[in-house]
Amino acid sequence: MRLKHNLLLFGILGLLFLGIWQLARTNNSVSEQSNGADNLPEEISFNFHVKPILSDKCYACHGPDANKRKAGLRLDVEDAAKSELSENPGKFAIIPNESGKSELISRIYTEDESEMMPPPDSHLKLTDQEKNILKKWIEEGAEFEQHWAFIPAKKSELPKVRNQEWPKNEIDYFILNKIEKVGFDPSKLAPKEKLIRRLSLDLTGLPPTIEELKRFVLDNETFDYEELVEYYLAKPAYGERMTRDWLDVARYADSHGYQDDSYRTMWPWRDWVIHAFNENMPYNQFLTWQIAGDLLPNATKEQILATGFNRNHPITQEGGVIDEEYRSTYVSDRTNTLGKGILGLTLECAKCHDHKYDPFSQKDYFSIYAFFNNVNEKGLQMDAVQAKNRMYYADAPYITIEDEDLNGILSFINKKDTVKVNVMVMNDSAYRNAHVLARGNYDAPTDLVTASAPEAIVAFMDNFPKNRLGLAMWLTDEKNPLTARVYVNRLWAMIFGQGIVKTTEDFGSQGALPTHPELLDWLAVDFVEHDWDMKYLLKKMVTSATYQQSSVISPEMKKTDPENIYLARGPRFRLGAEEIRDYILTTSGLLNDEIGGPSVKPYQPPGLWEETNAGGNRGILTTYVPDTGDKLYRRSLYTFWKRTLPPPSMTIFDAPNRDLCEVRRQKTNTPLQALALQNDEQVLEGARFLAENITEHSSDNGEAITTMFNSILQRNPTDDELEKLLEYHETYLEKFSLDFENAEKLISVGQYEINTTDTAKTAALMMVAQVLYNLDETITKE
């Protein structure tokens, strides 16, 4: 009986629901979601979950850019986001804890194209996941946080870890903590010979020599890793290796760029950078000198030389350009370089309009611009033809370096001949009013601005002078949340192949998020506490257990962490362009390790400059004549860099063209690279040279091949490898002893004079060397 009553009851209830549904059809869109609600984070973090969505999909129209802002809604500032919508009164974009009433939510869930956010024509879409995150966030109270990168870094407690044996220093606690959370185990310690190779490549950009191997690995029973690290940090090659990266940041080149792209003499500045790194100059001082060396109280010639950093940008020599247009371009270039290279911010986005994602107005941009606006320079100093005839290789302002300087503080400059060298530097001797330029156009000045730095990062103190020196102080002020973080992160990327913040060039809202935020902060603070000591920082990284792991990828790790985000294994990635060439020079024994001096012209496929130049008399870089003798075998950071046609052996391996500041190179894998490694004259010559030497010293083939294998890969071949190579060698030994002519042809590659007693043998061994130089392992740091 009761049951039947209930039955009736249920019937009625069902019908009622039916009716409600009927009525509700109009505004059901809100309640109708919750598909894909799975794998939502239990606890929503604004910075890590919400901000990325808002920034990427909303800020373009509801962000910092006042001119482009739609419906008066601003989502990057808490008060604005939570206040009543100016254009439809009574409505709120965000009402904490009430997603149902929040316009934002109904707009992102609606199907109605006229209502939908982001609007269809923006071609942006929110995934269900993203929608649900936003909803959850609002339901949990819609809390805002300051952008993580602008919060001053602080050292946090070392996280707890179960495995107490593994950690070697602080870094490892942060890494291991995460590894344990996801249930991995750290990889085992890498074998000695791998470690020394890794270390040598990271700290000097060169592979270890056979002697070093002998000294540290083979003979030495008690393998002292610390000592090894000290040893490599002390090598002069260290300075060169660090400089190689800094040249990308400083967009260094040996030519002016643009139309005629003629010669410039900036190489003494490069010598200084090498010097500074080898002296282990503190990073804050390193920056200060380069940005404002000339403004330091009674500045030395060295300090002024350092400011060449801001004159490395392209300069036009095209007759008939508009002076101011280009001068303004140069100033912008300095501003952008400061942003990308030192602050890790995309300042340039704020040149034509307020920044769309980060809290910088156009005014902020030009306030920084103002710092660099007072150089006594011209947009067009002299056209290429004049410059050529007057042998004018540095546009004013410049300093002249004469022989006597070399006896003094500039002793580090490797000046070949007695000719004076001019080097472009900064000065502030032409004060100009700085204006906000409408749409960034040089001919559309609007409001006057005074030199200053964005409040959003950290206040520009009143006691800072309002010039580049003040800017440098602001940058290196310990309250500045970016400078240290950005540099630490970049060194990390250099060592581990990928930054803690993947986008080393962008710490802003649109940049990637730190995978180990606490670690990044800890290192940054630690770095500053130790007086910005770069060698100390590097040592910290390479002595960590994290670094010393083997780079072998276990199958399950390959599935779960292919990009090695958790660092449960050692880094493994392709060497950079310069490293690859230097690797071949070193292992073959061709390398000329002279430090500094003017750039050199190694082998390059003929005709490249000739085909594209602007006519024979436009500047002095119209034809490429390779150098001769040991100049051919200098390290690659000395390779002559013509901006409009950089050395192909570099660009093919992802070197930037140096038109702009670059802080991160791609690591691509292309057929052109395969061709270069197989057929580049330098590689072949290296193979030949190595083959020659070995044939001289070892009669037995097995021994010869082993030696070669050792010198190229710094390890002994496995039996199988040895067997395969022997067999290969055999075939060619036979072939060439019959086919003498081709053997001759083969080994006659390169300028280095041939001295072999046994052509066939050398040729055969050279084939083996080519195989080894083309192995993935050879051009990979592992």
Binding site: L15, L18, G19, Q22, T26, S114, V385, R390, G616
Partner: protein, 707 residues
């Protein structure tokens, strides 16, 4: 309230409602419904669901011999009547009822009365007749429901897939705006309420004419502020907004289409091409056309990206014609170890292949047979493939083949009949084959609208001029006799030349293979070949220079703009290029060119030749005069010869110039050459009165033995 009185209450309400219903039916046309009542009608769509379910529940309970069956009956009957009444009221709200509504109405009423009968006559009826009554009831309910559905959701809302068929119809290249875009919008979003049966607001949107008739607000076109558009554009909250806020809304693009169409005069004939490309509607329509293109192949079988991935290989590229299409383009490139397998692998997608390109492949009849199964093939390219005519004829009727590219093949008239059989073939590319013009005519006669590209006719009136030959080595200054070869990119070329400074013609000497150069001379030459126009006449001067001064100096340095690579360029046996900025040229403007040379041993000099350049536009002129001094000791040199180049009368093209200052042979150990650049440029030149540039790249001392 006791059970009994409750029962009584039910009896009365049901009774009165039934009466009310009858009353309404009888006096329908006399009724004036007050808006409040009217509002009651709006509840019909809600309430009607109750009786439907309830009735079934009741029936079930009846089977289960439920004691409380009467209660179920009571409630159900009540709801049935209520919904019938409200439904009736609602039907008065709209105007002129369509047949569907009428049917729906009577069925509904039917249902109600059946219920009433069942309710009151329950106890008295026999089990058998109840059964039949129930059966009847069920049928009525279903029908009522169905017609009700038609009223709200449109005529054929139950008929399968028809709507999707509509989508499939593909747009022509130049679609009509009304039929292809406007009406479909109405059909989709409006007609359900604005049709013959249910013309809300007297507006019927199912045809162009009815549309023009408009609704309450009168004919659309006279209705200036276009109520239809107006109400569409009202904010959704607004009560007048159309479609009603609870209905499916128009999309932005739909609104745009309607707006534009009305603005353009709502013509029934307006076509795509007549639209203003800047207008918003244009872009929309354009996209729609593109989309519909996709559907022209939409009946093709589905291909997954995975399949495509698997089928692609180094020499075989398979890609969708565009995003989401199952129509494929296939390219197969020449490869060493080609075998028919490459084509056989395509079997799984053979019906998707619209475009097939086979380049320079050795095709046989087998391949052709295979192709016969590619039934959707529209474009076939066998450029450069080696295939015999018989083999080609293995290709049978490809009903969709529109384009065939067979140029650079051995195909001949044998295949004409086969080609003629491809009735849908439109474009045929067969240049550089063995197909004769008669074959072409034959083909044209069989397939009237076939374009045959046998060769680009315009190409014929290109006249082909030979480039002049190049001399190897191009050695202007030489010490020892040598041979020059004449080189030319084409073979079988005649090179004719002269050395007597007359222009060569077709009777001039022909270069056998190469030519001995042993003394100063100027070669003039050209290239000729049958079927080509002879090249222009080119010339080259050879100067023997075997007296190189071990020591020499220049009084003044050259002008800073053209310093060249320094003095040594004067005796390096290298000719400067036309680009006088090159470092093998030096130039003088203000200063004289004064060159003093000292030789180790005495020799007999009988002339000096200065290699220079003239180019009047950039002020490169012959010098005013050239003086040569010589003698045995530096102290007293006597003048040997003077040369005053003749003044230039008019603008001259850029060209090399050699100033030959000849004089009586004379023994010398020291020589001094003085050249004065032009002092006054002649008046005809824009730089009149200014100085002229003197350019020099080589100095040649003619010694008697040398000549």
């Amino acid at each position: 309230m006791t059970e009994k009185s409750l029962k009584v209450f039910f009896n009365y309400t049901i009774y009165s409602l039934a009466i009310l219903l009858v009353f309404l039916l009888v006096f329908e046309q006399y009724l004036k419904i007050p808006s409040l009542i009217n509002w009651l009608g709006r509840w019909h769509p809600l309430i009607l669901h109750f009786p439907i379910v309830l009735i079934f529940v009741t029936i079930v309970q009846y089977w289960r011999m439920d004691k409380n069956i009467t209660w179920y009956l009571a409630i159900t009957t009540l709801f049935t009547l209520v919904s019938a009444v409200t439904g009736f009221i609602l039907s008065l709200d709209g105007n002129s009822k369509g047949n569907i509504i009428i049917t729906h109405q009577w069925l509904g009423i039917g249902v109600s009365f059946l219920m009433v009968v069942w309710y009151f006559k329950f106890s008295k009826l026999k089990d058998k007749s109840i059964k039949s009554l129930l059966g009847l009831l069920v049928v009525f309910i279903v029908l009522t429901g169905h017609y009700g559905g038609m009223v709200t959701h449109g005529q054929d809302f139950l008929s399968f897939g028809k709507s999707s068929n509509e989508k499939m119809l593909t747009l022509p290249d130049n679609p009509n705006i009304y039929t292809h875009f406007v009406q479909p919008i109405f059909d989709k979003k409006c007609v359900s309420c604005h049709n013959e049966n249910k013309a809300k607001g007297e507006l019927i949107l199912s045809s162009y004419n009815s549309l023009l008739k408009g609704g309450e607000s009168g004919p659309l076109m006279n209705d200036l502020e276009n109520t239809l558009l107006h109400r569409i554009e009202l904010p959704r909250e607004d009560d007048d907004h159309m479609p009603p806020s609870d209905e499916e809304q128009l999309t932005e693009s739909e609104v745009a289409i309607l707006k534009n169409w009305f603005e353009l005069g709502a013509s029934e004939s307006l076509a795509f091409t007549e639209l203003d490309p800047e207008s918003g509607i244009f872009k929309i329509v354009q996209n729609k056309i593109n989309e519909s293109k996709a559907q022209s192949w939409s009946d093709l079988p589905e291909v997954t990206d995975k399949d495509l991935h698997a089928l692609n290989s180094d020499y075989c590229t398979i890609r969708r014609l565009y995003h989401g299409a199952n129509a494929l383009q296939v390219l197969i490139f020449p490869q060493k170890n080609y075998s028919i397998k490459v084509l056989q692998n395509l079997k799984p997608v053979s019906n998707n292949i619209i475009e097939l390109n086979l380049f320079d492949l050795p095709l046989t009849g087998k391949e052709m047979k295979l192709l016969n199964s590619f039934e959707h093939l529209e474009s076939l390219n066998i450029r450069g493939c080696t295939i015999t005519e018989e083999d080609f004829n293995e290709l049978e009727y490809l009903k969709n083949l529109k384009v065939l590219k067979a140029y650079d093949t051995q195909l001949g008239d044998e295949v004409v009949n086969r080609l003629a059989s491809f009735t849908s073939l439109r474009d045929l590319y067969v240049f550089n084959t063995n197909i004769t013009s008669s074959g072409v005519d034959n083909l044209r006669s069989k397939n009237k609208n076939l374009n045959i590209m046998i060769e680009a006719t315009e190409a014929n009136d290109f006249k082909a001029v030979l480039p002049p030959p190049t001399l190897e080595p191009a050695r202007y200054f030489f010490r020892d006799p040598f041979y020059v070869k004449f080189e030319h990119p084409l073979n079988q070329i005649d090179f004719r030349y002269t050395t007597d400074s007359k222009d060569p013609d077709n009777n001039s000497a022909i270069v056998s293979d190469s030519l001995l150069i042993d003394k100063n001379c100027t070669l003039k030459f050209f290239a000729s070949k049958v079927g080509w126009e002879s090249s222009i006449i080119d010339s080259m001067t050879f100067l023997r220079s075997n007296q190189i001064p071990p020591r020499f100096k220049l009084e003044y340095p050259p002008n800073e703009k053209y310093i060249g690579k320094g003095g040594q360029l004067l005796f390096d046996h290298e000719k400067g290029p036309m680009n006088f900025g090159d470092s093998s040229w030096m130039a003088y403007l203000e200063n004289d060119f004064i060159l003093s040379c000292e030789f180790d041993e005495i020799f007999t000099l009988n002339g000096v030749i200065l290699s220079s350049m003239v180019h009047t536009d950039p002020y490169l002129f012959p010098p005013s005069q050239i003086m040569v001094y010589g003698g045995m000791d530096a102290g007293n040199l006597r003048i040997l010869g003077t040369l005053r180049p003749s003044e230039i009368k008019e603008r001259e093209e850029q060209h090399f110039e050699y100033y030959h200052c000849a004089f009586q042979p004379c023994e010398v150990k020291f020589i001094k050459v003085i050249v004065q650049p032009l002092h006054k440029i002649p008046i005809w030149h824009q730089g009149k009165g200014e100085r002229g540039w003197f350019f020099i790249d080589e100095v040649v001392f003619k010694s008697v033995e040398g000549v």
